[in-house]
Chain length 318, copies 2
């Protein structure tokens, strides 16, 4: 997998439940890649360095190769704590604040997360700040960004500065409700993939939007519709997904006044982006898609350059 | 425990996770009681009769004693299916529709549940119909009844007829979020009991009411407030409870137009009634409390009389 061109830096996205590493050349192009489930939750104390070194060795990375990391590895329960930057904060400044892993012979820096210290709306992110910094289209102007996932985040950006953000437990609620609640009987046996064109998904989205995000009364109906009208597992899962995603969008649209009739940049995975795109369009938003993987990689590379871990290309070619 | 007066009937509330049996005399007074966790979920196939007979034997009930049952024992997964009555339906008619357990030498009847067959709002209940029938104050006039629990139900009654109802997953969401989600870190170590006077509970209720039941953006803040501002486990649990109960009330108040500024009859357990009472009062409702245990017992006794299993007292004294 590795090229004969030597890598300039290793970029690592180290989250709660995943580990992803890319070897990048001096222009940010990918020379090699590793993915595993060794997220924060499965790393034993003192386990960070051995896991990182094993993946680097698999890609034959030299011992001198610098590493830049974002995500939960920088949390208090992580490798080295990278204290949060506070909103409003320029994404450039966040990257520049990456902390050093002093215990390592290798040069390693961890990008901090961002905290919103408002008493009425406290919030935190780790990893998303790096994705945002990697989407060059977001560097100027005013943007609303939707980042779906276990804990979906919506971020308001102005000229590269994170002004405010808010988190929804959408992915976690879907997982808990479909595997642990009374609704597990309703969705048992459903496909993992839900189509954004499925009528139950779209109807449920519209319902959640019409209710302004209050879907409390709609959830048990999935179970009741199974008992009374034979709603299938697949349609039950699509309904649950539509209700939760629709509720998130209704809630976010109301919260961010700027959201009204404004394009939303969707930073999504292959699984979630089509569902969120459909739901956002049902809510009347124009949608621009950005690839989440490419974004975090570009953000990590931008951090490495800003931190002087990689020679700036413009310098090199000067 | 048993009295020298002979029992006239055994009344059984057999739910998903509990079994409760009372021996009642001909006037409905309690002569003996059994409680266990042998709910539907823990009963093996063909296990209903042995469990019932064991509890009856413990109370030295004669083999001829009739038994009236409500709850999930009448579901498709239960002992004998008692098909749902459909809204709108008089509670008297529901009780009168109790089905016989033909396989038993003993005279046993199971009260059906109620279904709401509306395609836009399908819903089901089993057990609550018997509680409602047991609250004599609800027999005439127009009432809105709140029945908190794992699956909270709100019921609109008119002159003893169930006109419509709706279910919220409030109790199940509290349990899942506080034990399985990211919020488990926030509430770990909190007391089981939450005070209705706790400021975080009341503030969270008010927030949920102000948001019209859309609490999606508020949940993750509990975690963030723990990380950023040291919110305690007890205050985190109180906040979660307040958000969920407040959201249910906001949602129900909006749904039942009749709810506006109307008294709500709260059929509660000792644990939940004080929290719901406080939240309902914050929402501007006058609250009347009915004891859930007494209600189900009275409803089962009313069923037994209506089904001719117990001689009517008025007849006996005529």
């Amino acid at each position: 997998m590795t090229s004969h061109i030597s890598p300039a830096v290793a970029a690592v996205d180290w989250g709660t439940s995943h580990f992803r590493l890319w070897l990048l050349d001096a222009a940010g192009a990918v020379l090699g890649e590793r993915r595993s489930a060794e997220g924060l939750l499965s790393v034993p104390p003192q386990g960070f360095a051995p896991i990182l070194e094993r993946h680097l060795a698999e890609l034959q990375a030299p011992p001198s190769l610098p590493v830049v990391i974002c995500g939960m590895a920088g949390s208090r329960q992580g490798w080295v704590e990278a204290p949060y930057a506070s909103t409003p904060v320029a994404l450039d400044a966040v990257l520049a604040g990456a902390v050093e892993v002093a215990s390592s012979a290798r040069k390693i820096r961890i990008v901090p997360g961002i905290a919103q210290q408002r008493p009425d709306a406290p919030d935190v992110m780790r990893g998303e700040e790096t994705q945002l910094a990697g989407i060059t289209a977001l560097a100027s102007g005013s943007h609303l960004v939707c980042m779906p996932g276990t804990h979906s985040k919506w971020v308001e950006l102005r000229d590269g500065t994170a002004v405010g953000f808010c988190t929804w437990l959408t992915g976690e609620l879907f997982s808990l409700l479909s595997s642990q609640s009374i609704l597990r009987h309703s969705v048992a046996g459903a496909d993992k993939s839900i189509s954004p064109d499925a009528t139950p998904f779209r109807q449920a989205c519209m319902q959640a939007l019409a209710q302004g995000g209050d879907i409390g009364a709609q959830l048990f109906r999935i179970r009741a519709a199974g008992l009374l009208a034979g709603l299938s597992p697949q349609d039950s899962a699509a309904t649950l997904s539509g209700l939760l995603i629709g509720a998130e969008i209704a809630s976010a649209t109301r919260r961010f006044a700027a959201a009204d009739k404004k394009p939303v940049t969707l930073v999504g995975s292959a699984a979630l982006a089509p569902l969120y795109r459909a739901a956002l369009e049902l809510a009347g938003h124009e949608v621009r898609i950005a690839d989440g993987d490419a974004a975090v990689r570009a953000g990590l590379f931008a951090a490495a350059r800003q931190l002087g871990m990689v020679e700036r290309k413009d310098k090199a070619t000067a």
